[in-house]
């Protein structure tokens, strides 16, 4: 229990620093220090019961005294302290139920236990706002759900039904570049398509007149639109016009 208390305190002692630059070594260093501290404690006070449920209530001085007055050579006690935290219970940060919220427009939103939403709520309840200065300023103007949503999506209407049913394909070079963005940058580690096959289909599509599209072409068309839409998000040039166009493609596709 002692060990866990220390861990929790250390972890949240300076959260704002870690939020900005979470040094991976930091946690490891903490763990090593904790292990050392425990080892020292056990050597000096082998009778000190780290799992003692009274630990919180009693003062540390009192515990140290009682540990010292106990006979040191008691074998039973020694074996017990040898495995102090084998099945210690850790207190969870969050409550065991999630949060179910209703917004102004009558939409329900459930956030489960493991969600960041519940975590942050609990965190704020426990430590107050002062530890999260950046979060607080964010929160003045926007609700949490707005923070989680992209700002862009709140402004532009996601479904504009005035769009023409079919949007013309961009020039082949643009299409290829956008697709490369998607396949090589965005989802290099999670590519669900076979790259050569994808580009073979792309070229086939460009070499066919729209009137002569066969089933395979028609099937591939939405995929191409969406891949280009994703590619646009990851576009290096950040061309505003293309961005809007591709949003249009995306919407057209979703409508379809």
């Amino acid at each position: 229990m002692c060990a866990n208390l220390i861990a929790v305190e250390c972890t949240y002692d300076q959260p704002s620093n870690r939020r900005r630059n979470p040094a991976p070594q930091y946690i490891e260093a903490l763990e090593t220090r904790l292990q050392k501290a425990e080892a020292v404690l056990r050597t000096v006070l082998p009778n000190l019961d780290l799992d003692d449920p009274k630990f919180d209530a009693h003062s540390i001085k009192h515990l140290v005294e009682s540990a010292q007055t106990n006979p040191r050579s008691e074998p039973k006690g020694a074996t017990e302290t040898a495995k102090p935290d084998d099945d210690a219970r850790l207190h969870s940060m969050v409550d065991r139920t999630g949060a179910l919220d209703l917004d102004d427009t009558g939409n329900w939103d459930f956030h489960g236990q493991s969600s960041g939403y519940v975590f942050m709520r609990r965190f704020r309840a426990q430590f107050g706002d002062q530890l999260l200065p950046d979060f607080k300023t964010l929160n003045k103007n926007r609700t949490i759900s707005q923070v989680l949503e992209s700002p862009k999506s709140a402004q532009s209407s996601p479904y504009d039904f005035n769009l023409p049913a079919a949007v013309d394909l961009p020039p082949r070079e643009v299409a290829i570049e956008l697709c490369c963005n998607t396949l090589d940058d965005c989802c290099a580690l999670m590519r669900p398509v076979h790259r050569p096959t994808f580009f073979k289909r792309l070229h086939a599509l460009y070499e066919t007149e729209p009137e002569q599209y066969n089933n395979e072409h028609v099937q591939f068309l939405p995929l191409l639109y969406v891949v280009m839409a994703v590619g646009c998000l990851f576009s290096k040039t950040e061309d505003e016009n293309t961005m809007l166009d591709i949003k249009g493609y995306k919407e057209a596709t979703e409508q379809g």
Binding site: H91, S115, E149, C186, P196, T253
Partner: protein, 208 residues
């Protein structure tokens, strides 16, 4: 153009997958969750979660595996971040991981051997897919729904330290199995494994 509720072929499924990536990249996670649900159900209808005896050409076979494991991974991540349940149990799945070969070497005729010295990215993909197994375990252990002392009015609960240690062991094993090229000298993967080291901070970290 596409009826996503009747997604019965690979190309349509891939389309939905890229829609999900689009939504994920534009930070609309709750919407993402809905689409992932659709994609996962579509995967099951296409039989992607099972090893089937039908004759597919190698490209199609690999695309099937990739699509399935990608959806599965997204489902785990987005579910964990939103605190919403997974839709597929590990017991329902016997699909194999994608073959760890670069795309150029997969042809309709067969999978050609790769020359030495090429590191297929799919090795990293599969490693991160394996990690989602631990992520699911983290969610199950750290954020249990049942089996708690429901008599107590206190909403807080405790977690066995032994289980935390088990999770840490899992992560260590995962690290030990990681291909040499992906070992901590590469920051990206080091970071990835760090996210899970402190399960209590898991969600906060994932958001970062």
């Amino acid at each position: 153009m596409l009826d996503i509720t009747d997604c019965r072929d690979l190309v349509s499924l891939q389309t939905v997958l890229f829609m999900i990536l689009f939504l994920q990249s534009s930070a609309k996670l709750p919407t993402c969750y809905a689409y992932i649900g659709i994609a996962l159900r579509a995967c099951c209808r296409l039989g992607l979660h099972r090893v089937v005896s039908n004759k597919f050409n190698p490209i199609e076979l690999e695309e099937r595996k990739r699509a399935f494991w990608l959806v599965r991974k997204l489902d785990s991540y987005v579910g964990a971040v939103l605190g919403l349940p997974q839709m597929l149990s590990d017991d329902d799945v016997d699909q194999e991981f994608p073959t760890e070969v670069e795309d150029e070497f997969i042809t309709p005729e067969g999978i050609k051997p790769m020359p030495a010295g090429i590191f297929p990215l799919l090795k990293a993909t599969n490693a991160s897919t394996r990690l989602t197994h631990t992520l699911r375990k983290v969610v199950r252990y750290i954020y249990p729904i049942k089996g708690l002392d429901s008599a107590s009015l206190d909403q807080r609960y405790t977690i066995s330290h032994r289980r935390i240690r088990e999770l840490e062991r899992d992560l260590q094993n995962w690290m030990d199995e990681l291909p040499m090229d992906l070992r901590p000298s590469e920051n990206a993967n080091k970071e990835l494994s760090r996210y899970f080291k402190q399960p209590i901070l898991l969600v906060g970290k994932l958001r970062c």
